[in-house]
């Protein structure tokens, strides 16, 4: 049983700059920010290290932070430029009963995060979902396709982005009410 600060210090010792920050100010849970291209190494360490034993990934969520600039594009719709997309990892250890939250952020235009699919198997579909709905690309994922939306849904349109705009038609069916 370790608290977030101890885990952060151990990670810092082992990974140095790949572990970026610890955010303790949130009212409920501390969040450790990690380098998106090193997350699989951190994950592997967290899962196998004897003091950690984070053997279950409770949840993996892709988030559009919407912290970029709001601009109008050519046809007058609001879009967001710049900023980041994030992925939150909620880990839990069945044997040691502690929890931790990891976070990685990647630039919005070209969000690339290492896949943790080979660390925790259940990340597979969660990552596909994050790719489908938010548009985060997971490197080294074995099967990165859309999961919820149809496979022929418009390329590069990810519904859970804050600036998402509904298409008018899909296969001849009117989408808006």
């Amino acid at each position: 049983m370790k608290n977030a600060e101890e885990i952060f210090n151990i990670l810092k010792d082992n990974f140095g700059d790949a572990v970026i920050a610890l955010d303790k100010d949130t009212p409920t849970e501390a969040v450790i920010t990690v380098d998106p291209l090193k997350i699989h190494l951190v994950g592997e360490f967290l899962r196998t290290n004897e003091d950690m034993m984070f053997d279950s990934l409770m949840c993996l969520s892709g988030v559009d932070d919407a912290n970029g600039k709001k601009v109008k594009d050519a046809d007058g719709t609001d879009i967001i430029e710049g900023g980041t997309l994030s992925v939150y990892y909620h880990l839990h250890s069945v044997s040691l009963k502690h929890k931790i939250t990891l976070k990685v952020s990647a630039p919005r235009e070209d969000a690339k995060v290492e896949s943790v699919e080979n660390v925790w198997k259940c990340a597979d579909w969660h990552e596909r979902e994050a790719f489908d709905l938010v548009g985060i690309k997971f490197l080294n994922h074995p099967d990165l396709r859309r999961i919820m939306m149809p496979y022929d849904w418009e390329e590069g349109s990810h519904p859970l982005r804050k600036d998402y705009k509904n298409p008018e038609f899909y296969q001849g069916m009117k989408v808006p009410y």
Partner: protein, 371 residues
């Protein structure tokens, strides 16, 4: 003599006779042997997470009903817990007790559908009828309490939408004593039926380490023999006050972690739920169920992840608040979504007919798989 056959791709669904909703399975089969299963989801993707971002916090509750529509109380509760944790609300004792009772009743009702449809898929139709008959009792209790049969919108952030009905305690007690006898009937009718055992024992064995690595939870995990239940291992609400056992798969009819174990864990869980209700029903304290409901729900900036034990497993809500009256992001960690991932692993090497038995024993609800 060895016959050389070509592998064939068979589509199961999205419209299919099994009662698990719109799921498409792409089976790769060699004769009758299943080599690989690829589930295709999204046929019921109803954009819950987008809706949650556009609603105020209390307006999201009716939408959470529609995630796992067989266990709407649990969904309401998980969401309410998350927002309460974010805002630091302490709910009154009375509310906690009522929540526990309705959630356990809901667990029974949900398992009844799960067991019934599992049996009906395999071919035993009578238990399906009996289980649905008993489910109507629970639904009528809920209807008295909050007015709806299936999608309740009952557990609100900080309280409940209605106080319990004057007849509630009496009706629940009647149901508990009635159902205790009926579970024995179910056991004799189905659980120990040799034909049913032949169809489910040693089928779809899920080893424990695979189950944990795939993140399986609920009866799917406990069927593999680990007593991991969030009600005890990560207690929320007032579950630490009650005395109950966590049924696990013991491999009574075959290997540990087969379909029969998962089925049997559900039956025994219904008994334990009845036990919890019995302990709680006499001790509901007096009080106001709406006293802790905030006038305006506006949580501080921050993130929260809470999880509760829903009938299908660990239901998690991840909420990011940016300090507004609408949530910034709500992500649901749906138990069925994660449990379904393991299907491919389970079906390998079994016959096509067993796929239905395995799917039934995992017990998915497409409403929360696709959200």
């Amino acid at each position: 003599m060895s016959l050389k056959t070509e592998t064939m791709v068979l589509n199961m669904g999205p419209q299919h006779p099994s009662t698990h909703g719109v799921l498409r399975l792409e089976l790769k089969i060699d004769g009758e042997l299943v080599l690989d299963v690829k589930p295709h989801l999204g046929y019921l993707h109803r954009c819950f997470e987008k809706h949650a971002e556009a609603m105020q916090y209390n307006q999201v509750v009716p939408y959470t009903d529609r995630l796992d529509y067989l266990a709407a109380m649990g969904n309401n509760w998980g969401y309410a817990l998350a927002v309460e944790k974010l805002m630091g609300i302490q709910v009154p004792e009375r509310v906690e007790y009522i929540r526990v009772i309705v959630a356990e009743l809901q667990r029974i009702a949900s398992h009844q559908v799960a067991l019934g449809s599992n049996a009906a898929d395999i071919g035993a139709f009578t238990p399906f009828l009996y289980l649905f008959r008993d489910r109507e009792h629970i639904l009528s209790i809920f209807e008295d309490t909050c007015g709806a049969r299936m999608l309740y919108n009952y557990i609100w952030v900080g309280g409940l939408s209605h106080d319990i009905h004057p007849d509630f305690v009496k009706k629940v007690k009647e149901f508990v004593s009635y159902y205790k006898a009926t579970i024995i009937e179910l056991d004799n009718l189905l659980s120990y039926n040799k034909i049913f055992i032949e169809r489910t024992a040693n089928i779809g064995v899920l080893p424990l380490d695979t189950a944990i690595n795939f993140g399986a939870s609920g009866p799917a995990l406990r069927g593999s023999g680990i007593p991991f239940d969030l009600r005890r291992d990560d207690p929320y609400s007032i579950y630490d006050r009650f005395d109950f056992e966590i049924p696990v798969g013991k491999g009574l009819q075959g290997q540990v972690g087969d379909c029969w174990d998962r089925y049997y864990v559900r039956v025994r869980e219904m008994e334990q739920s009845l036990r919890i209700i019995e302990q709680a029903i006499d001790h509901i304290p007096e009080g106001d169920v709406q006293s802790a409901i905030p006038k305006r729900i506006k949580p501080p900036k921050g993130t929260v992840y809470t999880r509760i034990e829903n009938p299908r497993g660990e239901l998690g809500y991840f909420i990011i608040s940016d300090g507004n009256t609408n949530p910034f992001r709500v992500k649901v960690r749906a138990p069925s979504f994660v449990n379904l991932e393991v299907l491919g692993e389970l079906c390998k090497g079994h016959l096509v007919a067993d796929v239905i038995a395995i799917l039934g024993s995992i017990d998915i609800v497409l409403g929360e798989v696709d959200r």
